[in-house]
């Protein structure tokens, strides 16, 4: 092979490698995951979520999960939530899972909500007994953290497959928080609720789409 041919081959290889790296970086920076938009319009929107003890469908039928209701009223298995900036977000979470308790009782106090409170089955609370919590809905970078009361262990008609129906045993938690400037914020559950995983923090607790997600403030 001549020197010119070798130089051309090396150059082509390097260019291909650089192109792949650039493509990866650009894709990473610009990708926007699909999500569920809040209903209503700025400056007051509604987000409706539910938690289920086990998703009941592939690929992980036994994983605990959040679901979100889209503007057409359909439950979607997504944790990427879209809300407008500089708005009041009214959140309703239907809690179908039983209590496992908070590892750190500190998260039993609602924080970052408007009024510093939450409403559980019509009752306004400024703290939840940590042992009664099943999950939390927390957006740490916005200072929002709300404990979610679990369904009693002996409750009748417990939900086994998502999406759960409101005719099944559940707790209803409502609260509101304010958004500011646009941004992408992670949200998560602070209860180690991934049964069967080391320390309760594997699988669904480590996976966006299950017990973690993004709040896309737009």
């Amino acid at each position: 092979m001549s020197k010119a041919a070798r130089a051309l081959a090396v150059s082509a290889g390097v260019a291909f490698g650089v192109a792949l790296i650039v493509y990866y970086i650009v894709s990473y920076l610009t990708v926007t995951p699909p999500g569920v938009a809040a209903t209503g319009s700025k400056p007051r929107v509604h987000l409706t979520l539910q938690t289920v003890a086990s998703y009941g469908n592939p690929p992980h039928a036994d994983w605990v999960s959040y679901l979100a209701r889209n503007p057409s009223g359909k439950w979607v298995h997504s944790t990427v939530l879209r809300v407008p900036s500089y708005s009041k977000v009214m959140v309703t979470i239907y809690q179908f899972d039983t209590a496992t308790g908070l590892r750190n009782p500190f998260w039993g106090q609602p924080r970052g909500t408007i009024g510093g409170t939450m409403n559980v089955d019509g009752k306004t609370l400024n703290v939840l007994d940590p042992d009664l919590a099943s999950h939390t809905f927390a957006i740490p970078d916005l200072g929002v953290s709300v404990p979610l009361k679990g369904v009693a262990d002996d409750a009748k008609n417990q939900c086994s497959v998502a999406p759960c129906s409101l005719s099944e045993a559940h707790e209803t938690v409502t609260f509101s928080f304010a958004t500011g400037k646009p941004g992408k914020f992670r949200w998560q559950c602070f209860v180690p609720c991934a049964a069967g995983f080391p320390l309760g923090f594997g699988g669904p607790m480590q996976s966006v789409g299950w017990m973690d997600g993004y709040l896309m403030v737009q």
């Binding site: 590892r103 750190n104 500190f106 992670r186 998560q188 180690p192 609720c193 320390l199 607790m205 966006v208």
Partner: protein, 285 residues
Amino acid sequence: MTTIAGERMPRHGVRIIAIWLVLTAIAVPLIVLVLGPHLPPPRMSAEAGSQRDANTLMTALLVPIALLVVVYFVYSFVFFRQSGEAILDGPPIKGHAGAQLLWIVLTSAIVLALAVWGSYTLIAGAHGAGGGQGPDPASKPTGYRNALPVQVIGQQWEWTFRYPTYGGIETRDLAIPDHTLVAFHVTSLDVTHSFWAYELGVKADAVPGVDNIAYVKARHTGLFQIRCAELCGLWHGHMSKKGRVLASGAFQSWIAAAKTKNAAIVKYLPKYNRVYFPAPLRRAG
């Protein structure tokens, strides 16, 4: 000029040493006087200051060694480059006992001096240099018995802080008073994290079941970055926030406000302890 096989050769060794000496004489003062004040971390505490001194010294020692390698490489590339198609053997290389001895003695002296200096700084000079020293620190600073204890609790994926001398309150925010010795008691509720307060020069692993103690004394008020320095799961990269060093009066006001803000949960918090084994750790595992 030297003579090899009847051919007069320039004294390459002398040239290389001369170039190296000139470059070193220029580079080292620049490292110490110009780059040094910008090396991490900032001098927000005595511990951070000792780390910057160490970084400056190490860089100042490293540069002459790096320059020697680079000068030799570039010189060889320029003067020992063989042109044409023919491949000829170079002159035979012979050992030089004096040069070898000098190299061994010099490098050994540098390493040993650094070990002595580093040990002195770590143990006697900076009392742990802001690093976690485990539950029973080997190097305690003067007045450590009166240090303000602040517990740092790592959990997936957030830091919380407890102040045992202020009713054991727990907060999401970290504030400490300036000119006050603080003893960080770093622990974890789940996996291993690492508490890194960059400007303070504090870095201590947060390990479940371990009370890892690090001392620090902030020199002035201001903000400092808090990071997790141990890959700990999905949101590891988000385990960051800003801490604050406040003047004494402002700190008292802050702690009073924090007590009010977090009052509702206090009755549910476990009694302050050096480590925790919360029930869900067993329940969900």
